[in-house]
């Protein structure tokens, strides 16, 4: 008997140890529940992080665009009904973009800012003629927003004068390779010839077939945006803040600011509902774990009625009896959660071994978060104590006379 331990702890531990089989079964039961919760949580957060990462690999977190042009009637005279035709949006530069860029650099949570001149164009090579999006970038800044250097499959990300980087789909369509020449023509009949210096694969067929990266200066002259940029791409440290920050920037600059959360609304909704449904599942697993603990303790209280009566006769208070059984619930929950975390860790290791892409690389990375284990342990102990509430009250209120006679 450990001398530092209070009576209630000693009794709770002895009771659990004596009912070895029962205790073991319920701890395993709790463990399985906790393992499913931990495994599911880790899997889900890994999966979601991976999905978000893939989605954002070819997207900026926030895109700043010039404000929409609105048709304004000159002097709406009374009594005349006006029918306003929406104005067609032409390609325009962002006013004072250098100042805006400088101001953005002072904001917190901003990882990179990349001004860009982009617009529609055609690319011609031999008989092939493709519609493309011409993007004039500063490669260093742009790499901060989109990890283009990691996505190069051939050549390198180099957009000097007369140099262009194209996607693998476009390269296939044009039959072009590194070193080949392509001719880019815009609607304004400006034309320039580029040498292909690199091929990228951003994991999105449309993007791979459409995006053509050139230097900012080339794009500016081709798109008739001399000195201007048509959009500013921003990447953030905390992507969940994107919507809040976008509204703030829009309010401050008067520009249109689209966050990835808004532009991918369906995707974000899907992620959220996935999280909600997994919370529902977690809740019910927790509930069934609680019922399991409660039912074992109810049986234990009935089995130990005489012992409870004897302890009461010896002067044990109702509070002491209550605590003995609450502790049993908590201890079962705690050890169950340790077992469960161990099981979950094993599952995750197996998952890492099994779930691999065709090339043998892991499909996606799932980390075992020590915080999650701590939460599981704390949560399961709490669930155990709550589950023990009913049986413990029953034990405390047991009439010692009935208990001893029984």
């Amino acid at each position: 008997m450990k001398s530092w331990m209070p009576f209630e702890w000693i009794a709770a531990i002895r009771f659990l140890r004596e009912g070895r089989m029962q205790s073991l079964l319920i701890i395993v039961g709790v463990g399985v529940g906790v393992a499913v919760i931990v495994f599911m949580s880790a899997l889900l957060s890994g999966l979601q992080a991976n999905l978000v990462k893939r989605t954002l690999s070819s997207q900026a977190h926030i895109v700043l665009l010039p404000p929409e042009e609105i048709a304004r009637p000159q002097s709406p005279a009374a009594g005349i009904s006006l029918r306003l035709q929406k104005q067609a949006q032409r390609l325009r530069s962002i006013d004072q973009w250098q100042q805006i860029q400088a101001r953005l650099e002072g904001l917190p949570n901003i990882a990179a800012i990349s001004p860009m001149a982009s617009g529609p164009a055609f690319v011609v090579r031999g008989d092939a003629n493709k519609a493309i999006t011409l993007l004039g970038i500063d490669p260093v800044r742009y790499s901060g927003v989109i990890a283009l250097p990691e996505r190069m499959v051939a050549g390198q990300l180099r957009v000097g004068a007369g140099e262009a980087v194209i996607g693998i789909e476009l390269a296939k369509d044009l039959g072009a390779d590194i070193g080949d020449k392509i001719r880019v023509t815009t609607a304004g009949d400006a034309t320039e010839t580029f040498t292909v210096t690199g091929l990228f694969d951003l994991g999105n067929k449309g993007v791979n077939a459409r995006n053509v990266y050139v230097s900012l200066r080339s794009a500016q002259s081709l798109l008739d945006l001399v000195g201007g940029v048509s959009s500013i791409d921003i990447s953030l440290h905390d992507i969940d803040e994107a919507e809040r920050l976008a509204s703030k920037i829009a309010a401050e600059t008067g520009l249109t600011a689209d966050s990835w959360i808004k532009t991918n609304a369906q995707f974000v909704t899907a992620l959220t509902s996935q999280r909600v449904s997994s919370n529902v599942i977690r809740f019910f697993i927790g509930l069934s774990v609680a019922f399991g603990i409660a039912s074992v303790l109810v049986v234990s209280v009935i089995q130990r009625a005489r012992e409870i009566g004897i302890l009461r006769a010896m002067g044990a208070s109702q509070g002491q009896m209550l605590r003995i059984f609450l502790l049993q619930g908590g201890i079962v929950g705690f050890f169950g959660s340790l077992l469960g975390s161990g099981l979950a860790w094993t599952f995750l290791m197996l998952w890492r071994l099994m779930a691999r892409n065709a090339d043998g690389s892991p499909m996606f990375v799932i980390g075992v978060d020590p915080g999650l284990v701590a939460i599981a342990a704390g949560g399961a102990s709490l669930v155990g104590i709550l589950a023990a509430l009913l049986p413990a009250r029953r034990a405390a209120r047991l009439d010692p006379v009935v208990a001893i006679r029984g």
Binding site: S3, P6, F7, R312, M314, G315, A316
Partner: protein, 240 residues
């Protein structure tokens, strides 16, 4: 608190106990008057259903009377709440039961120390020394570390007696203490109770069916149908 020396260990005046209410109410005890002095060794006998166990539960503060007054060591118990009753019970009253005497998850030594542990909240060396001495006195020096259910019936009852004495109670209530034992063990256990009574001057109230054992007590209180019908002092050990 009243001085235990100048008061009777136990005093009952007009104790009634009834169960149910209204038409289904039935009275089990019809006004019991009883007084036990320090050092008395009394037997409580009577047929089944005579109210012996009910009376013992009231005296043991495990249940509350419907009427009348109950004093332990001069302290009136009617005004105490559950916590107060529990505390008084733990300090002043020791129990020896017929069945399921011990807590099987604990060793003999721990069982004896249990009332001290319950009262003090944490184990200490002194309580185990005291428990060890008590086990020596009941002749179980060799069995201290045995789990309760590794002991024979007679040995378990000895442990239970040692446990009942752990808090140095004024009154030990024994409900059929030998009812579950063979004749030889029963005699041993009874002799032990008697020895404790003589040595420590502890008051005993022993409920028994066994007239042979009752006859070896100093006083025989007989109950029939919820009343005390006879109260005889067998040995004139105490002045009437």
């Amino acid at each position: 608190m009243a001085d235990p020396v100048t008061h009777p260990v136990l005093q009952l005046t007009g104790i009634r106990k009834s169960y149910g209410s209204g038409e289904t109410e039935s009275e089990i005890l019809h006004g019991i008057d009883l007084r036990l002095e320090r050092g008395e060794f009394a037997a409580l006998i009577g047929p089944s259903g005579s109210g012996k166990s009910t009376l013992l539960n009231l005296i043991g503060l495990l249940d509350r009377p419907s009427g009348g007054q109950l004093f332990i060591d001069g302290q009136e118990t009617g005004q105490l709440d559950d916590t107060g009753l529990t505390r008084l019970r733990g300090q002043r009253i020791g129990f020896v039961f017929q069945h399921h005497h011990l807590i099987p998850a604990f060793t003999a030594l721990e069982n004896v120390a249990m009332p001290l542990l319950v009262a003090r909240g944490r184990p200490d060396a002194e309580m185990f020394e005291q428990a060890g001495r008590l086990l020596d006195q009941v002749g179980l020096a060799e069995r201290k570390q045995n789990l309760a259910n590794q002991l024979s019936g007679g040995q378990q009852q000895r442990v239970a007696i040692a446990r009942a004495l752990a808090m140095s109670p004024s009154l030990v209530l024994a409900d059929e203490p030998t009812g579950n034992l063979d004749t030889h063990s029963a005699d041993d256990v009874f002799a032990l109770l008697r020895e404790v009574n003589t040595r420590l001057n502890t008051t005993f109230l022993i409920v028994t069916h066994d007239r042979r054992l009752a006859a070896r007590c100093d006083r025989i209180i007989e109950m029939v149908d919820g009343d005390i019908v006879a109260d005889d002092r067998v040995h004139d050990k105490l002045p009437a």
